[in-house]
Symmetry: C2
Subunit: 606 residues, 2 copies
Amino acid sequence: MENRTIMKRLKKLRAKMKDHGIDYYMMPTSDFHNSEYAADFFKAREYFTGFTGSNGTVVVSENWAGMWTDGRYFIQAEKEMEGTGVTLYKMMNENVPTIKEYLSSNMKKGQVLGFDGRVINTELGNDLEKLLSKKGASISYNRDIADEVWEDRPSLPCHDMYIITDELCGKSFKEKLKDVRLKMKENNCTSYLLCKLDDIMWLTNLRGDDVECNPVALSYAFITDEEFHLFVQMEEVTDDVFDYCSDNDMVLHDYFEVADFLKKTRLSGNIMYDKRNVNYSTYRSLLACAKRSNVELENVEDPTEIMKAVKNETELKNIRDIYLKDSAKLCEFIYWLKNSIGKEEITEYSAAMKLDSMRKEIPGFIELSFPTISAYGSNAAMMHYEATKDDFAVLKNEGMLLVDSGATYMGGTTDVTRTIVLGEISDEVKMHYTATCVGMLQLANCNFLKGCYGRNLDIMARGPIWAMDRDYKCGTGHGIGYMLNVHEGPQNIRWASRPGLSDAVLQAGMIVSDEPGVYVEGKHGIRIENILEVVEGVKNDDGQFLHFNQLTFAPIDLEAIDTKYMQPKDIEALNNYHKMVFEKVSPLIDDEKIVEWLKEATREVE
Amino acid sequence: MENRTIMKRLKKLRAKMKDHGIDYYMMPTSDFHNSEYAADFFKAREYFTGFTGSNGTVVVSENWAGMWTDGRYFIQAEKEMEGTGVTLYKMMNENVPTIKEYLSSNMKKGQVLGFDGRVINTELGNDLEKLLSKKGASISYNRDIADEVWEDRPSLPCHDMYIITDELCGKSFKEKLKDVRLKMKENNCTSYLLCKLDDIMWLTNLRGDDVECNPVALSYAFITDEEFHLFVQMEEVTDDVFDYCSDNDMVLHDYFEVADFLKKTRLSGNIMYDKRNVNYSTYRSLLACAKRSNVELENVEDPTEIMKAVKNETELKNIRDIYLKDSAKLCEFIYWLKNSIGKEEITEYSAAMKLDSMRKEIPGFIELSFPTISAYGSNAAMMHYEATKDDFAVLKNEGMLLVDSGATYMGGTTDVTRTIVLGEISDEVKMHYTATCVGMLQLANCNFLKGCYGRNLDIMARGPIWAMDRDYKCGTGHGIGYMLNVHEGPQNIRWASRPGLSDAVLQAGMIVSDEPGVYVEGKHGIRIENILEVVEGVKNDDGQFLHFNQLTFAPIDLEAIDTKYMQPKDIEALNNYHKMVFEKVSPLIDDEKIVEWLKEATREVE
């Protein structure tokens, strides 16, 4: 069946492209800062394809449109784009060209690729320019054509900013700024354009609400040896924030003035920037500024990233505390779900709403750290499935519900996944669930030398899945912000290194997720996700050993565990973990019935 | 006490340095091809310092001499250089300058650093030139001053070359050459200077005997689209080899003519070379050739390296066969050792001689693949300990003997380590031995996706050692040549990546060693080394799975195994391995008593 809505939109877009002499028009999934979640204002790709996933880039020509997305979304994208005429390109699959390869082989001499340079990163912009110039084609980056077609486009997010106290942050803006200026000096630069929203928030101890689930304000920061310029939407600056900025010698500018500011500024030293995080339009302004000032642009990985990743003692104390509270609430939710299923109608969506509303009861709740994933049965095989108010499955007392959820509170950002048994499950499911549990615990309990990257450890979690000739098509773990983004770098737990992916040696104070899974299309999906803190262990002649401490304390579903698939040490690890869960969480739960249930849910197994 | 011999030699050297206007003269440990083992001809550093270790560089000035070596040799170097006036510089120790740092802070404007550019690699030569030019100092690389002083210098190794039949190699020289030329084309080059000896041997299906334990001939190969030039010592070219070269359109040149040849040659396309493997003098000749021809030098990793690493079916068949024979012989040796200890005097050295002589009985034996390591008790904690005719420990019926050994045969090159119980051992030793066994088997039995590097898998072997807050200060595994060097790249099993170390994704047909260990200084050393072949497993939507097949079949010493440190799956893995050992090796052993012993040594444990 044809999807007329999408087809009409594409038709209008093509007409505008023709008007502006654009042969191919590209729309990625990004705001002006390459944020993980783009606000509705930025969802041009969704508007023109129907595909709602979090990662995808559409390219449109006169008589063709292609949408590129990754393995998490193949099934969903196919479903959502049915009847639109848009072709799905499965990224990383054999014989599937990348966007660059596609454009390079299809664009002809004299043709023009258009895109809004503010939503394209510098590297891609530069690559495309070089690539196409070889073919005699060119780019046009300063027009947002989607905007000319898009009726009722949502407005740019604009919400009040707020201040996090130094007590809650453990380090003041001025102290952090001093560290950043040291890094500028190390890189022989006298100024630095920082465009990464969570890094700007981390540095200033400010927060905002402009990106879904990320407590950040749309902003730029321009730092010199003497000055600190902050570009934000002035409507967001409350009196308190204004005073705080004044007190801290921050010079406030309007968000949209950054390009003009760079155009006017003359500098006497080199400018530091991180090409991964500066959008192509801003990069061009910066380049012009450098040329005029006769100084160099120094592409350096944002030093704020690693500073932010290694949590300080105050942050760690608060994180440990909030993870306990969040875990207790999740336990109450699991109890509710297991005891209500079959008694009242529960859907994927209503279960998510229930959990969300329970989290809101926790003091200091700010917002969800990402939209709760509540996926029943085979829906859970879609790694980033999202049930909505209008499209959901009804839960039955059989199979499992996968719930991946978390929130940002005053005191930390959480993330946790449990796959919950609702009734009968097959032996195969038990085997897969048990392997996932073994993998999660194996990584959590491993001891390793300082110097390790996540790639050295990934097999601890993934090994039990690989042993079954299966894989999960994503990393095992990601970093997590402090009252910030639920996904942050540079550290990660992945086995494959891809160029452009940031990476860092694991060190004490870092937080990583540990989330192996088994996903069988059309059948079931299992994920168990705990959050771990990297801590120091023994130091001896062989070096500094590191290991993990658990931050998440919620039961692994024993109804899905078959100990015949476990070694004694795996069983011991599970029992030890469950003992901790009960000891730490039960004091936070008032309802005796739930405590009783938790006791049973965390019982020792053999 | 003064070491007059060394002091006299240094005095003569200094006089010659003065004659030639050289202020500092540097002598490293290397032949002209950066081979792992340098022949006596190349041991100038030993001649002028007395230090006999395998790694060290001496720098001599008018009134000072310094010798740099690594941690393996600190004690030995101090002892051997006593009374020579040569200062020991302990590499990697805190506050010890590197050679570059030393020269950079001590050399003055106008001074000259001399070295024989044929024993210095391109990168170091370039670095030194740049570094010193900043100080107004310079290098002089085309004079071997040591040669002018060195009385009775051993002659350059010069032994007959021989041909390996195409049947034994599985691929002819001409076929291999075609593949190499394709790589030249891919890199937009019309010629290629190959300096790596084992790569030249692999490519030509020739062998030699010029480097200890490596069946290679000193040689260079210069490949163009049309021609193949081989530079060897003409005395090495037997009639058969001469005919073979003629038949294969190889143009033979004398080994020392390569520089002249490059000086004379004019080329019409870019020249490929690998700066890791080209010595500085040759690089300068190449650079001159490129300049004169007005073409570029393209620094590319020798493509022969990966071609050589992925064994073809013929090679694999022969390797599997020769490893069985080698394993059977090792079993006989272990039997002999266990039954002779306490009955006759056996020393580290005599045990090694015994094993070496047993290997020589295997048809097709060519030479040892490295000097047999036979280390008793605490000697085994020194990773590169070598007992000699004059310096050895006597074995008693207590503790363990570590034996790391192998040979090159017509049909393959072997490498294997067993740590053999001779009598009573402590519980701690059993714990360490069992962890080493578990690590070795865990890596050998893991299932992984194509795309993995060794760094993704290293923890499978190392994890059980790390779990005890211990580490072994070396990689877990290396590649192994086919009738070639026992250590070859580019693949490896290591956890840490160091710049300059080559690496490659593991693929079917590669051979790697799997040799975890525990080394406790002053107490004991344990290493268990099996050789593994990478093979393809299941291929499905998740990708191509790979795993390992065992090539080595010799018992793990059950007297050192305590199953209380093992999980059921580890015990099962050990029993499965031992079952294979008996099944595969017992048919190759004639002596019934040994077969009986092997049956017992490979019995099932619980």
